[in-house]
């Protein structure tokens, strides 16, 4: 049983402790995939949106949200998968971007989303190497270790790294 009345603010606090299973330094709030929370008595509704259509982490994230809330005695949880408006890297928080870079993944560069995609053989502008911070990097492949990342390499320190691609 829940000791005190549930508030939306409390749910948001708890959700900030749920981590992205693929990038475990980011909370799902850092990632910007929680689109809304509603509390009605003991019933909690959480709206989440996928980063990519086929993101295999979504089911795990939904389960992790339930488990985190369950640990607080919150059992009546509904999780809605919301596709529209579509997630964009613009929703990733500044704190999230810093954590991402510290973890070794280059954060998305703003304003380079899909409008430029048909610029064939072009690449996103100046992605900074998370290792040596050089802007002298090159795109290896638009597709990387997960659906949300591209593969880059630094021309200065030669470190290969993941780039959380703009979307």
């Amino acid at each position: 049983m829940v000791a005190t009345a549930l508030t939306e603010a409390r749910i948001w606090e708890l959700l900030d402790e749920v981590l992205d299973p693929e990038v475990p330094v980011l909370s799902i709030l850092d990632l910007g995939i929680v689109r809304g929370v509603q509390v009605a008595g003991e019933l909690v509704t959480v709206h989440i949106t996928p980063t990519y259509s086929g993101c295999p982490a979504m089911n795990t994230i939904a389960t992790d949200i339930r488990l985190r809330l369950l640990a607080e005695g919150i059992t009546q949880v509904t999780i809605h998968n919301q596709l529209s408006p579509a997630w964009t890297t613009d929703w990733m928080t500044p704190a999230g971007r810093e954590k991402l870079e510290a973890y070794g993944i280059a954060p998305p560069v703003d304003g380079t989303a899909t409008g430029h995609m048909l610029n064939l053989f072009g690449q996103d502008t100046a992605v900074r190497c998370p290792n040596c911070k050089s802007d002298n990097t090159r795109l290896v492949s638009q597709f990387g270790s997960t659906a949300c990342k591209a593969s880059y390499q630094c021309n200065d320190c030669h470190e290969p790294f993941d780039y959380f691609k703009c979307h």
Binding site: P56, L83, S84, A86, L120, V140, F143
Partner: protein, 272 residues
């Protein structure tokens, strides 16, 4: 597949406003879109571990995953449109080849890398401008699925376009292979934009985009890519092969389904 998520109630509200007839048409159509991305995604996944280099192996697996994600959203919507209690797994695993509605192009075998690239390019060149238009559909569910998928489709089209150029303007070997693939696959492209009776009815109802309006964009991109690839434009009069969208498939689909559906057919009702 473990279904722990549901569509938001606001997204289901539109269902109530459709007549039974439109709902049936839309069910058939959503099934067609889902089958298309499922079968192409499956074909691409066959490359996993066999790609020419690691990065391109990953690229094909990534694109397959995007397409499977789109597939799941579409099948989930289809089950709601049908309203008979079938699940997304039932639709994917328990229908026979004649019930599948994908165009013939996407079920064609992978062949060599050039063959896969040409198949992908022909599909992406339709898929991307199509989704861009579908985003404005008055059907909120389709619009939402398109809004999500179009960003991914842009990456796919960029990838396949660049590979057409690399192969065409590459070595004599790569050029010969991409030319052979074009000669073999171009005739399947017209089916993508030739509406079936179902599609015509939904286009007239204003629910899905008019394919004729996509043609100029598609033709311009093909011309641009082939020119950069130094490849000749195939004659427009090449006769087209069609029928998949109405359930008349090539023999290849049966083999795909045999593998795709094996576990569910061998162990009916099995869940993870």
């Amino acid at each position: 597949m473990l279904l722990t998520m549901q569509a938001a109630p606001s997204e289901s509200a539109a269902l109530a406003t459709y007549s039974a007839e439109v709902r049936q048409l839309l069910f058939q159509y959503v099934l067609q879109l889902a089958d298309t991305s499922l079968i192409l995604g499956h074909r691409l996944s066959e490359w996993c571990g066999h790609g020419p280099i690691l990065e391109q192996d990953l690229a094909m697996a990534n694109i397959a995953l995007d397409l499977l994600g789109e597939t799941r959203s579409l099948y989930q919507y289809a089950t709601e449109l049908e309203g008979k209690g079938r699940t997304e797994d039932d639709l994917a695993y328990l229908r026979s080849a004649v019930e599948y509605r994908n165009p013939l192009l996407v079920e064609q075998p992978n062949g060599d890398f050039a063959h896969t690239i040409v198949r992908q390019f022909l599909f992406d060149n339709f898929h991307y401008p199509f989704l861009k238009q579908l985003k404005s559909s008055p059907d909120e569910r389709l619009a939402g699925i398109a809004e999500k998928a179009v960003k991914e489709a842009a990456y796919h089209l960029k990838w396949s376009s660049e590979w057409i150029i690399r192969l065409g303007d590459g070595t004599p070997e790569s050029r010969q292979r991409v030319e052979k693939a074009i000669a073999s696959l171009w005739r399947y492209a017209a089916e993508l934009t030739t509406p079936t009776a179902t599609e015509k009815a939904l286009q007239e109802a204003g629910i899905i985009p008019d394919y004729a309006a996509l043609q100029p964009t598609m033709a311009a991109h093909v011309a641009r890519v082939l020119e950069e690839a130094t490849l000749p434009t195939p004659p427009a009069s090449s006769f087209g092969l069609a029928g998949g969208k109405e359930g008349r498939h090539s023999e290849h689909l049966g083999y795909i389904l045999t593998e795709l559906q094996y576990v569910q057919r061998a162990y009916p009702g099995l869940t993870w």
